[in-house]
């Protein structure tokens, strides 16, 4: 899976958007991994993520309760979360390092920033997955603002038509940007849709329309 990698950013600008994924390696350290994965999940949750979930169960914006995710986690759980600042990323990585659980963790975000935070907490990058962006019939893609929003659900569960509809509701004052962002997070079953970033994008679009 590469569902956190190709999050679109207009003009490749920096974004406060750091996605964490954690899982056991099936056949290597997966037997009885549940407890460790739950511990990873609790550490992520302790640093106030903007979204959190388990790929196999759902995230907090799909209606899952934290206790429910913990209770139903299995050795095959994929624990996911997203943070909106380098400080909180540093804090969670530090706790994960200290806990020394032996479970793999990846961080998706601006590579320079991620490497810098890792250096601060004395962690070494092991392997990277780099993005070369989109190819093919790019005219089929939605416009850039919508693309930024829909690509925050890496399984493409957030529909561009729904985003357009929500944007109109914000424009008409029926919804706040916060309510809109939370609604858009609902289809993301993994818990990696960054609600805070979505709110920022919606605000940017709304302000742009007002100024026009």
């Amino acid at each position: 899976m590469t569902h956190t990698l190709h999050r679109y950013r207009k003009n490749n600008e920096k974004a406060d958007d750091y996605v964490l994924l954690s899982m056991a390696a099936q056949g290597f350290n997966s037997i009885n991994a549940r407890e460790k994965l739950v511990e990873v999940f609790k550490i992520m949750y302790s640093e106030n993520p903007d979204n959190i979930g388990d790929d196999n169960q759902g995230g907090i914006y799909t209606g899952k309760k934290i206790e429910e995710i913990i209770e139903n986690a299995t050795d095959k759980a994929y624990m996911d979360s997203v943070f909106s600042s380098k400080d909180s990323l540093g804090a969670v990585l530090n706790k994960l390092k200290e806990a020394d659980l032996g479970i793999s963790v990846t961080v998706t975000g601006d590579m320079d920033d991620v490497f810098e935070v890792m250096q601060d907490v004395e962690l070494k990058p092991h392997t990277v997955n780099l993005s070369l962006g989109y190819f093919g019939k790019k005219e089929l893609l939605p416009d850039e603002d919508i693309l930024e929003i829909v690509t925050m659900c890496g399984h493409s569960m957030v529909c561009k038509d729904h985003v357009q509809y929500i944007m109109k509701r914000v424009e008409k004052g029926i919804m706040t940007t916060k309510e809109a962002a939370q609604d858009l997070a609902r289809p993301c079953t993994c818990g990696i849709f960054n609600v805070k970033r979505a709110e920022g994008i919606l605000e940017r679009c709304y302000r742009g329309k007002e100024e026009a």
């Binding site: 899976m1 190709h6 994929y78 020394d100 793999s104 890792m118 070369l132 093919g136 399984h155």
Partner: protein
Amino acid sequence: MQINSELCLGCAKCIKFCPMKAIEMENKKAIINQTLCAECGVCHRLAVCETNAFIPCVELPWPRSLRSIFSDPVTIFQETGCSGRGTEEMKTNDVTNRFKDTKYVGIAVDVGRPNVGCSLKDVEKITRVLALLGVEFEKLNPISYLMKDFNTGDLIEEVLDEKVISCVIEVLVPIANVPEVVDELKEVAKDIDTVFSIGIICKVEKDLSIPVIPILEQRGYFVKPSAKTNIGLGKRI
């Protein structure tokens, strides 16, 4: 996915949630275009319909079941035990050592996302090009299970008409061959009815350098500033 027409009120509220534009109105009722529907389950999971008119198929027949395997993130692919479209790839490389050193690099071609979808015919066009280049296909990847012949990249005929939201083709290539493979992918991109994104997996050297980056940049490719990093916390038991 099906809609119970007796329960449908024709409000059309569900249409905007379908990433494949598969929900249509006919005679004031919503119906699902079965050719377009990728069985992702979003419409049902979100409970957008106030009369609960959506009926998911309990067991999809082969090869339609592939739609759900690739498109619904909560469907498990039995052969790999993984949910979704790909494998653990580099996410557990600190444990598996699948990408041992920087001599070999992984390439993940992520077809159909976002909100475009793809047919497995388009996927076959890409696997054929990759096979001609002599790449090593990742055996645990669901697309590899559908491949008739790794030397030609042909998929089994019966699956070609299936439509999915997205899938990932994963291959391993010698680092020196990466520019040539990306060049060829760029060429085949002109011949498909969808989009794909390319991910390049490379181990990080002790001095924190990433040898594949200068190779790609020299060929004129722009490596996006955002990447996925395995932070090296995993251990074998």
